[in-house]
């Protein structure tokens, strides 16, 4: 919303305060000023002039050559406006002057000297009319600078509407002025209104309210309105505040709205003689002032005339037929307040957001209707002395907000703010903001003014805010908090999450990525990647991405696809959330997963697989402290049916890993070999860790002894290892793998070399002991088809 400082100064004297200070204090105490515009700053040297003579231009049929009296002299001006005529008074920019940033100098226009420019109100930035030059009717002093006569110079503050969301009282200048008055400790002037009680004897307008969402409907009528144009100052203010000047009655409704913060509407009293407020039936049609037809949803608050014909969408827009035009002379003014949610819903449903609807959404104060009407009548009668009020103030006040009163002590306020606030100061601030403050034995009893009582202020803490913001948040000194020194609980999975990421980045050279929580349906379908989902977004505007993922792998594959043309080797990982099902209450079962993708154009699938296994085992062991292994078992269908596996510990299953299914691999990019890992990270991080005591070292000499066996090619190392381990001898400390060798010359066998460590804690081994071990081991092996080479 734009506010005019000239307008504010009608109500509070801000003289002697720098604009920067005004902006800064308002920002810190009330709401955010997004922009400051210095209106009129780029306009100078513009005076009132009178056209003495109009002659055609010799070469341009649309132009005229004017003689214009500007008091001190007569200028020759070539003008392209269609509305020029002799005797017309207008605004003339003179040589060296400036019109809203456009510099004026003597120049030839079609070979004719032009010594200035006649201006339209739009060119000057003070009105919306750009159809012709200003046609001023009335007594304007020829030759006088327009800035001496009109308030062209003004400072406009554009306030961020979002920061006014909870302040229904700040949607007009009078409410804003109250803030400035308190911020700068200056008195707030009374708003000038007509006394409507003098019309009490006149007949009332019939108002029938059948909608519970219409809290108050007030109206008054007037006739014999002959003035059509608004006063210049009013047009300028409305223009500066971002509205269009239209005609007196339309401008007045806008002006009063910008003044007191309550939207108003004017009906042609010849069409609308009485008011019925109803909730609409679905499908009710309405032609609005702009000539657009809207179909109302069910239960939209609707204003109807005496005959039940809809004449306005309450709180949003008036209807065309009942609306005022330039020829209207009698009028019915509406000032009403509706339920904020009802107006917001109607506005959203029909897709029409107006100056009125954004105000009504904020829960306006019903007490304001009479203020708005009395202000309206005051302005109308001042401008058009012939205007005559034709009804008494008519009012249907059906919902009263409860009167609020809050007990609070200055000590409570001081404790929360963290600064000592004296009672005197608290009372002064609250009183200035319109609160009714009485002292009691427990502190203060604070009555909330009606304009703050619709939702904004209801509890003690709301009053703390009022006092603190006016005290100035920048006057609060930062203070540390005294706390009991107690040990802080450490969440293991939070700690391990960072450690795991760091491990993957630092040791395995992987890049961490962040992806969205939904599946990419198109991508998955294109490459036949299964992407089960247990939960969907209701709003499908997120096109093709409405199912919440249950696995990270498909998104990792999408990132792989997007990066594959810029890199030969890709290593990425993510720790992210997935939903793996719904519980009995239909709530999402959310898991934290870890996924790693290795892709390479040079490394074989087997090499990638072994690297991935190393990552899994290393991460589990080093970061978590857990021994994991791979086990054959079912994996997601995008994995290779043979070369994929479950990741397991002795007691738990943590997920899966493997190379890609050939179909998926070929579909995405056959140049790349790809291996994926996906683990339930939360489960991994929570797994119990068993600490193994280290093996003590013997002081007697240990002997290493290598054995080279031939086994069936198909025998896995795991099977070999467990078979060989079944032979036990107390001088053996176990064995480890040295090498596996495969060669055509070995036929359907392969060679496995292992190294045993032999020793004892109480003596040096004898040759016989070692020989005995060797013999027994070989015998055990050969019984199991493991032959010493």
């Amino acid at each position: 919303m734009k506010i005019s400082l000239n307008w504010i100064k009608d109500y509070v004297d801000l003289s002697g305060i720098e604009t920067d200070e005004i902006v800064k204090r308002f920002n810190l105490s009330t709401a955010e000023i997004e922009e400051v515009e210095y209106m009129g700053a780029k306009t100078h040297g513009v005076v009132f002039g009178k056209i003495l003579e109009v002659k055609p231009h010799p070469t341009n049929a649309h132009w005229h050559i004017l003689k214009v009296d500007i008091g001190t002299k007569t200028l020759q001006i070539v003008c392209g406006a269609p509305n020029v005529r002799e005797g017309m008074v207008t605004c003339v920019a003179t040589d060296g002057g400036c019109v809203n940033g456009f510099k004026i100098s003597v120049a030839k226009r079609g070979d004719i000297d032009s010594e200035g420019m006649c201006c339209s109100s739009a060119e000057l930035g003070i009105g919306s009319d750009n159809d012709g030059i200003m046609d001023l009717v009335g007594d304007y002093p020829i030759g006088t600078d327009i800035k001496e006569y009109w308030p062209v110079d003004d400072i406009i503050l554009e306030i961020d509407n979002k920061t006014l969301t909870n302040r229904p009282d700040l949607w007009g200048h009078y409410g804003m002025a109250r803030e400035f008055a308190v911020i700068f400790d200056r008195p707030l002037k009374k708003i000038d209104v007509a006394d409507l009680s003098r019309y009490n004897a006149l007949k009332k307008i019939s108002i029938e309210n059948k909608s519970k969402n219409c809290y108050r409907y007030s109206a008054i009528s007037a006739e014999n309105i002959t003035v059509k144009k608004s006063p210049d100052f009013m047009k300028i203010r409305l223009t500066y505040c971002g509205m269009r000047d239209i005609n007196l009655l339309a401008d007045l409704t806008n002006y009063v709205m910008m003044d007191v913060g309550l939207p108003m509407h004017a009906f042609d009293n010849n069409v609308v003689k009485g008011i019925k407020v109803v909730d609409s039936h679905e499908g009710t049609k309405m032609l609005t002032l702009e000539g657009e037809e809207h179909t109302l949803p069910e239960n939209a608050v609707t204003i109807c005339d005496q005959g039940g014909e809809p004449v306005a969408i309450a709180g949003v827009k008036g209807g065309l037929k009942s609306g005022i035009s330039d020829s209207t002379t009698s009028v019915l003014f509406e000032a009403a307040v509706f339920n904020s949610t009802a107006i917001r819903k109607t506005s959203r449903k029909i897709g029409l957001v107006t100056d009125a609807s954004i105000r009504y959404e904020k829960s306006l104060d019903p007490e304001k209707t009479t203020l708005a009407l009395s202000r309206m009548i005051k302005l109308l009668c001042d401008i058009d002395s012939g205007a005559k009020v034709t009804s008494a103030l008519s009012d249907s006040y059906d919902y009263h907000y409860p009167k609020l009163s809050i007990e609070i002590s200055p000590k409570f306020i001081s404790n929360i703010v963290g600064e000592n606030l004296e009672e005197e100061r608290v009372v002064k601030i609250l009183t200035g903001l319109g609160f009714d403050v009485k002292t009691s034995k427990n502190g203060l009893v604070v009555g909330v003014p009606s304009w703050r009582a619709t939702k904004d202020v209801s509890i003690k803490e709301d009053l703390v805010e009022e006092v603190a913001r006016m005290f100035g948040y920048d006057n609060i000194e930062p203070k540390p908090l005294k706390f009991e020194a107690v040990p802080v609980a450490l969440k293991r999975d939070v700690l391990l999450e960072y450690e795991s990421k760091k491990y993957l980045a630092e040791k395995y050279g992987a890049t961490e990525v962040h992806s969205y929580i939904w599946n990419y349906k198109d991508f998955c379908e294109k490459h036949k990647i299964e992407h089960p989902s247990y939960i969907k977004l209701m709003d499908s505007s997120n096109s093709g991405q409405d199912s919440i993922r249950s696995k990270l792998a498909p998104t990792m594959l999408k990132f792989f696809e997007e990066n594959r043309n810029s890199l030969d080797d890709i290593r990425i990982f993510e720790i992210g959330r997935v939903v793996t099902g719904l519980d009995e209450q239909k709530l999402a079962i959310e898991k934290k997963h870890l996924a790693v993708l290795l892709a390479s154009q040079t490394d074989s699938e087997e090499k990638l697989f072994n690297e991935a296994k190393k990552i899994v085992v290393d991460l589990a062991k080093t970061v978590v402290g857990l021994d994991v292994n791979l086990k054959r078992g079912e994996t997601s269908s995008y994995y290779h049916p043979v070369n994929s596996a479950r990741v397991v510990s002795r007691t738990d299953d943590f997920g899966e890993m493997g190379i890609l299914h050939p179909t998926v691999k070929k579909s995405i990019d056959k140049r790349f070999n790809v291996c994926l890992i996906e683990l339930d990270f939360g489960k991994l991080a929570a797994a119990p860790v068993y600490y193994k005591k280290p093996k003590m070292l013997s002081k007697y000499q240990q002997v290493n002894m290598d054995f080279n066996f031939l086994v069936d090619k198909k025998l896995s190392y795991g099977e070999f290892e467990s078979t060989l381990s079944k032979y036990r001898n107390k001088i053996s400390n176990g064995f480890e793998l040295v090498d596996i060798y495969e060669d055509d010359s070995l036929g359907d066998r392969k060679s496995i070399t292992v190294r045993f460590e032999l020793g004892s804690f109480d003596h040096t081994l004898s040759g016989e002991e070692i020989e005995k071990f060797r013999g027994e081991l070989i015998a055990h092996a050969s019984k199991n088809n493991i032959i010493l080479r």
Binding site: L28, E465, D474, L490
Partner: protein, 344 residues
């Protein structure tokens, strides 16, 4: 005898001038100190020396022998030094400017910055927690005092799910659980990912990160809130940052504030990062609304506290120098891997 000794000494000094390498040095040694060397030779003369001169001559011979031995050792050392020097001169200089491949990957810039913030709050005794991304309507809205009629509960702003839950719209959704777990006296920090159903552009994402903090105790004040925020920002930017509060409005807090940090780049003078204002809007915050405490089973008459929701992504953009928020969720490996594992 004496002449003979002098003659040998002279001869040695003369011969030793021609030493070029270890073999000629060895020849020299044998010629003087060997079995048939000149010193051994001299001993045959010694026998005929009169007894009264034996002592003197013996000393002279000994001196000569020592002189020769020392000289030879000295030559040997010189030759060794020379050989080392030649080896050094022959060495091929390495190219010390060659690039190295550390093989280090990268953390997401959010992870890096989040860790910095987490470390600062850990050091001040905060518990570091975690929250779900999918929340019930109760946790996301009702428990944090968002009324039924609030626009945030419309479809337009929130991703509603078909089971009635929502993608959490703010980290405060975890407040209720956290206050129930650790309250009423607690200091907890909980980073998390949040979602808003809105159009994406260079400065708006529908998926973004926040870091929420809550402190609940007896007599917590706005002054305390400012203190913690300032300490955190000083730590993150590693310099003295001013903070200021402006009025804000959020249902979960009362009073509510928008917290601005003085621009760390221009020090408040105004630059492109802060849009020439000197301030950067970073963190909605406020004193926890008594209804929120009450719903979480904390007595608002006895305890109060503050909460903040730091806009992590904004902080990440400022610190990392990224100019478009969309990079954060785009998985562009070539861009991301430049971050390595540290950002200043």
């Amino acid at each position: 005898m004496k002449e003979k000794i002098n003659e040998i000494e002279k001869q040695f000094d003369e011969d030793s001038k021609n030493i070029a390498d270890l073999s000629s040095l060895e020849e020299l040694r044998l010629a003087y100190l060997g079995k048939k060397g000149k010193i051994t030779d001299l001993m045959t003369y010694f026998r005929v020396v009169p007894a009264e001169l034996k002592k003197e001559m013996g000393m002279l011979v000994n001196n000569l022998k020592n002189h020769i031995e020392e000289s030879i050792a000295e030559f040997k050392q010189k030759l060794a030094d020379k050989a080392v020097q030649e080896e050094i001169n022959r060495a091929k200089p390495f190219d010390i400017t060659l690039p190295v491949d550390t093989g280090v990957g990268s953390l997401h810039p959010r992870t890096i910055i989040q860790k910095q913030v987490v470390d600062i709050f850990s050091s001040m005794g905060f518990i570091i927690e975690d929250g779900n991304e999918i929340e019930t309507e109760y946790n996301n809205f009702i428990a944090v005092n968002v009324p039924e009629t609030h626009p945030a509960r419309d479809m337009q702003d929130t991703f509603w799910l078909d089971n009635g839950e929502v993608l959490k719209t703010q980290t405060s959704a975890a407040q209720n659980r956290i206050l129930r777990t650790y309250g009423p006296k607690c200091k907890v920090l909980f980073p998390g990912r949040c979602f808003r159903n809105e159009a994406i552009d260079a400065s708006h994402e529908n998926t973004f990160f926040q870091i929420e903090g809550v402190v609940v105790d007896e007599n917590v004040s706005v002054a305390n809130l400012i203190y913690f925020m300032k300490k955190m920002l000083n730590g993150v930017f590693k310099k003295d940052i001013n903070v200021r509060l402006r009025p804000g409005y959020f249902p979960f807090t009362e009073p509510s504030f928008e917290l601005d940090a003085s621009c760390p780049f221009c020090g408040g003078k105004g630059c492109s990062t802060c849009g020439n204002s000197g301030w950067i809007e970073l963190c909605p915050c406020g004193m926890i609304h008594p209804n929120v405490l009450k719903i979480a089973g904390v007595d608002p008459e006895k305890y109060n506290g503050f909460a903040f929701g730091l806009g992590m992504d904004r902080l990440v953009m400022i610190k990392s120098g990224l100019d478009d928020i969309r990079h954060l969720n785009a998985g562009e490996v070539k861009l991301l891997r430049q971050f390595k594992t540290k950002i200043n």
